[in-house]
Point group: C2
Chain length 221, copies 2
DNA sequence: TGAATTTCTTGACGGCCGTCAAGTTCTGAT
DNA sequence: ATCAGAACTTGACGGCCGTCAAGAAATTCA
């Protein structure tokens, strides 16, 4: 019904004209998932590019021992599915489940045609991937070498910096935050309580945190 | 002197013709570093694409606490420098040192021109990044959720699988392997000794390992 | 609004693994 | 071959943090 609803939300298509967006829209498949549902390598997602049309998507990966790791928190207009983009990728198979509301997808072969036709798309995707890559590099380094305390302190200051405010609401439940930071909900509770005892932050009802001493927070080891 | 020495080694240029390779070659800058030297965000590497012309390159990242993390082990023809590829990237600044022998580099703006002119390049780069991305996703999940024992067991079986042999020489010193797996040389020694005691592997002189029971190794938690 | 379920917090405990140290083996250069 | 330096191994110790459990707080839904 609506013309190029989700397609025009996506930055990677930003250079394209209206007729081209129409072409793409005709290729796109739309899905709706009730909030809280999880798609787990279902039907097509694994060999398609996913576009978040509405809501928030959490991308998890399953480890061999059954634990899950929160890798990305995607917002409207974000894309996912690097597996979609190259040919002889041995399926990462296990892993990569998501929880969401509205999602569009584009089949791998269709998307590859698009990239051939409109080179600006692949350059845009490169930018997205480059950023994601350096984010993951930092995350790997961080979980591999720093303490839970330091990782949490970093997360708080970075989130505050991104929102440009000292007082903000944690965008995740403790359990998700824990799997994101590679720790447990209990440890997060304890460390936040510690930071508060040290006067570095103040915790307020509703997962709201106020930073009192960002500099000292960053010195946490 | 030699025509397109390193350029023709690189898979991302594989679709290009000889004259085009010449063009690229004229843009490329060559460097030579004595084995074991480390370039540490020196002169241009941070805003250029790096091509490994010869030898082996270890890509490290420095954590806030001063520890280093081994992220990639690059071989001849591999590329590095995602930072090179997008404009408004706030420099990851600290981090990313490498050790190597021969390296070529292409300035960011030059490379962006190339991608505009030859779309096949950016698609090839996308493939490389996609693979690297899913590798890093697994690594993040692994270090965040699995024990040192399980990570090492995984590393051994994967390396063996990649080499298609049960007996192989560890390609890294214990210290590098340790920073790669997010642990310490001591722990690696201990775990290998444990595996040997359990009859899962046999250690031979010269960092050579023979796998006796791959299935059981994978069950390590 | 009130009750049921989920999420969060705090305590106690224990194990994994990082650190320090000392001895041994390996490696490479002369 | 010899020797110096690096890399490796093994032990002892301790702290970080994950686990289990129980109670408190918060959120959801009727």
């Amino acid at each position: 019904m609506a013309e190029h609803e989700c397609v025009q939300l996506v930055p990677i298509f930003s250079e394209l004209g209206s007729e081209q967006l129409d072409t793409i829209e005709s290729i796109v498949r739309h899905h709706h998932y009730p909030a809280g549902s999880t798609l787990f390598g279902a039907d097509d997602p694994l060999d398609s590019l996913m576009i978040v049309a509405n809501g928030q998507v959490k991308v998890y990966q399953l480890a061999a021992n059954g634990r899950e790791q929160l890798l990305y928190l995607l917002q409207t207009g974000d894309i996912d599915g690097e597996a979609a983009l190259f040919k002889n990728q041995r399926r990462t198979s296990f892993g990569e489940a998501l929880v969401t509301t509205d999602v569009c997808s584009i089949r791998r072969s269709d998307f590859q045609d698009l990239m051939q036709k409109y080179p600006s798309i692949s350059i845009n995707v490169l930018n997205v991937f480059g950023k994601r890559l350096s984010q993951l590099e930092r995350q790997t380094t961080s979980t591999a070498t720093e303490s839970v305390e330091a990782r949490l302190a970093n997360y708080i200051t970075e989130t505050a910096a991104a929102l440009k405010t000292d007082t903000f609401k944690l965008p995740l439940k403790k359990k998700d935050l824990a799997t994101f930071l590679g720790t447990t909900p209990e440890s997060i509770s304890r460390k936040l309580a510690l930071f508060e005892r040290q006067g570095l932050i103040t915790q307020k009802p509703g997962k709201v945190i106020e930073i009192n001493d960002a500099d000292q927070l960053l010195l946490t080891e």
